[in-house]
């Protein structure tokens, strides 16, 4: 599935033009991206949380050459699944 199917779904739900729906879907991801870029987490209840993690610099190895290299400090994003969705996927009723 790509953005196109999401746009079509929104088109059915809202009855706006496809162009407007595409704009809404794009803006939705822009909002989330912009927030994560600021280093802030985004929590979507019933779905999961996008969590920004600070990684310290560390020494690593190029697995191909075995050469030791310095891995710079960086920020990464992790997705943490909601318990509700986890249970839904595995067909368990939620407590």
């Amino acid at each position: 599935m790509t953005k196109l199917e999401i746009v079509n779904m929104l088109y059915e739900k809202l009855g706006f033009s496809k162009r407007e729906c595409a704009h809404i879907v794009d803006s939705f991801f822009e909002v989330i991206k912009g927030n994560l870029a600021k280093g802030e987490n985004v929590k979507l209840s019933g779905f999961g949380n996008f969590v920004v993690k600070e990684k310290k610099a560390r020494r690593g190895r190029n697995p191909q050459t075995g050469k030791e290299i310095e891995i710079s400090e960086r920020r990464v994003v992790n997705f943490r699944l909601s318990q509700v969705l986890k249970d839904e996927i595995n067909n368990k009723s939620t407590k």
């Binding site: 599935m1 739900k13 809404i24 879907v25 991801f29 994560l36 839904e88 996927i89």
Partner: protein, 92 residues
């Protein structure tokens, strides 16, 4: 930022009323959710992709009590961050 904040921001940015913005956000999330559950790979360019991964059953331990427990096979979505988002976050 939680879902309500996303709805508010989307409404502000696009000059949509709250009700419409809420339907939009719920529909987007719900559509992605259904696709994941149906084991369909979801790919959002510039953002990332979701795919379901299968895990076999294994014998684990309750870290608190040390008790041996059998962990049932399960399916969990995996999120792979897209290049654009990765770069955005990296630089901060």
């Amino acid at each position: 930022m939680n879902k309500m904040d996303v709805i508010n921001k989307l409404g502000e940015d696009l000059k949509l009323n709250q009700k419409i913005a809420k339907i939009a956000v719920d529909t987007i999330i719900d559509t992605i959710k259904k696709a994941i559950i149906a084991e369909e790979r979801v790919e959002i360019r510039g953002f990332g992709s979701f795919s379901l991964r299968h895990y076999k059953s294994y014998t684990g331990r309750n870290p608190k009590s040390g008790e041996v427990v059998n962990v049932e096979p399960k399916r969990l979505p995996y999120f792979k961050v897209g290049k654009e988002l990765k770069d955005m976050i990296w630089k901060g």
